[in-house]
């Protein structure tokens, strides 16, 4: 829940506006994602985002909530997640207290009083709202993030159908709760299992890919400031090349940001095999990938960078250094 009272902003009117809106919150998205997002806002449909870990799926929801100035409700899915933790729960303690109070204060033999007490037991006040229900009862459309849905059990997909399609929830003891304002729903998945088609059908689908070199450069520049401009280019080019290696877990944008920050702390000026190999743990999270790069792929990647012009050629540098030394020596001799 946001503590600061939010300042609501109106929904964007075009794709360009959507891009700008998110850019204000330091989230740079490509036109395709912006198109899908814009459509989902206009059509009032949930977005279903899939993609490799660390490409900014969760971040999108956070930035969108900030940009629109609304509240963000987040459900982190896990195996065994149930209605009581995600949607609502009856406040049994409060119900018990209510019964005791009714017993002591009024005459329960009167059928009308009894009926009133009974009705009161399953009223709105007795409901403990969890994020799903909360997102339906806000005065202004909030952002609802259902994160990593693939981790929840399959029955949970089915439970979501009603909320996603109709923006309403049926509580057996109470009745129907309709959304006062439709939540903007974003569902993410890492694809550890296939989500049911019935759910996907109700959403707009988008596969979030790794960004292009230029875009990633912008993102890293925004999110991890404070290192030399040359190093940014080297870092991003290195990461982009490493993604082509078919690693077990290719580094995401989040890892690139971490790595850049790590290099900044170590006062690195230029990528070298030693600095790369000693900080690989920040970038790659799989022992075999790290072994593979340390065994020789790092040098291959760095030579690739030299060929593409992101890194200066070490041999030429040695020659130029030699020349400098020679010129210095000749000057010395002259003196």
């Amino acid at each position: 829940m946001n503590i600061i009272s939010p300042k609501y902003r109106s929904l964007p009117e075009s794709i360009e506006e959507t891009i700008q809106l998110l850019a204000k919150e330091d989230y740079l998205c490509d036109r395709q994602l912006a198109t899908t997002l814009f459509l989902s806002l206009r059509l009032a449909r949930p977005i279903f985002l899939e993609g490799e870990p660390g490409v900014g799926k969760t971040e999108l929801a956070k930035s969108l909530a900030k940009a629109l100035g609304t509240e963000l409700f987040r459900i982190q899915c896990y195996e065994g997640l149930d209605v009581a933790q995600s949607a609502y729960e009856w406040n049994v303690a409060k119900q018990m207290v209510e019964i005791r109070l009714a017993e002591s204060s009024s005459d329960l033999k009167d059928p009308q009083t009894r009926k009133n007490v009974g009705d009161n037991l399953y009223s709105r006040e007795m409901l403990i709202e969890r994020p799903l229900l909360q997102s339906l009862t806000q005065s202004h459309s909030p952002v609802l993030l259902i994160d990593e849905l693939d981790r929840a059990d399959e029955p949970f997909d089915a439970f979501l159908l009603e909320i996603l399609a109709e923006n309403q929830m049926t509580i057996p003891e109470f009745g129907l709760i309709r959304a006062t304002s439709r939540p903007i729903t974003i569902i993410t998945s890492n694809r550890t299992r296939e989500i049911h088609d019935a759910l996907k059908r109700r959403c707009l689908y988008h596969w979030l890919d790794f960004p292009t070199l230029e875009r990633e450069l912008e993102i890293i520049h925004l999110r991890a400031p404070g290192i030399p401009l040359e190093l940014y280019r080297q870092v991003v080019a290195f990461v982009q090349e490493s993604r082509k290696l078919n690693l077990y877990k290719p580094p995401g944008i989040a890892e690139t940001i971490d790595w850049t920050q790590a290099l900044a702390i170590l006062n690195t000026i230029r990528l070298s095999p030693d600095t790369v190999n000693s900080t690989l743990g920040v970038l790659l999270k799989n022992q075999e990938d790290i072994n593979r790069l340390q065994a020789g792929d790092t040098i291959k990647l760095l030579t690739e960078l030299v060929i593409k012009g992101y890194l200066p050629d070490p041999e030429k540098e040695i020659i130029s250094l030699d020349q400098k030394v020679q010129s210095l020596q000749s000057k010395k001799d002259q003196l």
């Binding site: 036109r31 059509l43 279903f48 729960e89 303690a93 119900q95 059908r201 078919n246």
Partner: protein, 400 residues
């Protein structure tokens, strides 16, 4: 006009295997109103987000989109696609992509072998013909039959019988679970709502070692398709190929598209059609992979003819260690196609001592019946394993 075009476009997609519902068509009509007609790329992206629900569909979608919204004539041809009438003349689309799309439009096997298939395989739709195909040895199939067999292999069910685990799952018909009921009461102390659970049945993980040496060529290729189908339906399948070296191809097979998956495998594996170094490959597997993959009652499948180029003394310790760490070993051997097969080669004799199942795999029927076979003798395994480990202990005792 737009509505009509959209309808045609959705029908093209449906033909290509992307199921677009009428609701999605209506929705895409709305997107046109919102997005407008200014940018072609925006429209492509908008239609994709409305009509697709899997990443793999994007390739086909792009081809269909390019051809439909730029060249109506080609689209018309696609609509009435009889393969022979289409000549890929469109310059914008790569030839291979077009072929791919056309193949997906037709129900028939690939174009390269199409003529052959028409000549030799005119009975593909009759019931008895499929029965015959299922009983045919992969080695003796014609190439058209082999292609069809590969397609069928992709769709065969998971062959592992479920195992009872000690984990519980909520189930209204199960017994009352006291522990969970009490735990639940800690949240709501005044309410006793019994929680019913029963034990969870789970398909155990499968680890496959597939021989890709020269003698196995055709069987290995078909098994790759079968394993790709398995990997898609069952999360816990790990696959390795071995010839002269061991390669993990699990990740390649995780790709939903069989063509792409197998292409990735072909790029990764370097020892196709060479010799076999069974002992060293098993040893490498034991050292690097067994610990992480063979826990939790994994089933190990050895798909090889067992004809090792060199029988070394290191084979016995390797297979013994393997049999102790796996729940059971299934050996699928294509040599069983010979009715008079006798295990005489020393390598085969040795392996047979440690293998729990020794089954044929040379036609589709055998693959389809694997579950029955694996169910049959499960009970005896635990006993065998016990006696084996007992033997090992006693023999080591003797050594000391």
């Amino acid at each position: 006009m737009i509505a009509e075009n959209l309808l045609h476009f959705s029908r093209i997609l449906r033909k290509a295997g992307i199921l677009v519902s009428p609701e999605q068509v209506l929705l895409s009509l709305q997107t046109f109103k919102i997005i407008g007609f200014n940018s072609r790329e925006d429209i492509r992206c908008a239609l994709a987000s409305v009509m697709l629900n899997q990443r793999e569909q994007k390739v086909l979608f792009d081809i269909a989109f390019d051809s439909f919204w730029s060249d109506i004539k080609l689209a018309e041809l696609l609509m009435n696609s009889t393969l022979s009438s289409i000549k890929p003349t469109h310059t914008k689309i790569k030839q291979t992509n077009l072929r791919r799309l056309l193949e997906d439009f037709s129900d028939k096997p690939k174009t390269s072998t199409l003529r052959e298939s028409i000549e030799t395989f005119d009975y593909s739709n009759s019931f008895s013909a499929k029965e015959i195909l299922r009983a045919t040895d992969f080695e003796t199939m014609s190439s058209a039959e082999f292609i069809l067999a590969k397609k069928i292999a992709e769709t065969l069910p998971i062959p592992m019988p479920k195992l009872r685990t000690y984990r519980v799952r909520k189930n209204q018909e199960g017994l009352i679970n006291l522990r969970l009921t009490l735990k639940n009461m800690s949240r709501q102390p005044f309410l006793i709502s019994p929680i019913h659970t029963n034990l969870k049945d789970q398909i155990p993980p499968i680890v496959v070692l597939l021989d890709i040496s020269g003698s196995m060529d055709r069987y290995a290729r078909l098994m790759l398709h079968y394993l790709h189908g398995l990997t898609r339906h069952h999360l816990k399948v790990s696959t390795f190929t071995f010839g002269t070296k061991l390669t993990s191809i699990t990740r390649c097979l995780k790709n939903n598209d069989p063509d792409i998956a197998l292409k990735l495998v072909e790029e990764l594996v370097v020892d196709w059609g060479g010799g076999t170094r069974l002992a060293s490959c098993l040893d490498e597997f034991n050292r690097n992979w067994a610990k992480q993959l063979l826990g939790s009652r994994a089933s190990l499948w050895l798909i090889t003819d067992g004809l090792d180029g060199e029988v070394t003394s290191s084979l016995e310790p390797a297979i013994k260690k393997l049999s102790l760490s796996a729940n059971h070993i299934v050996w699928l051997n294509p040599l069983l196609r010979y009715s008079k097969f006798e295990p005489e080669a020393p390598g085969i004799k040795l392996l047979l001592q440690y293998v729990n199942y020794f089954l044929p795999m040379h036609n589709l029927n055998h693959l389809a019946n694997l579950e029955q076979e694996l169910r049959k003798t499960r009970k005896s395994i635990q006993r065998q394993k016990l006696s084996l480990s007992y033997k090992t202990i006693s023999s080591t005792n003797l050594n000391y």
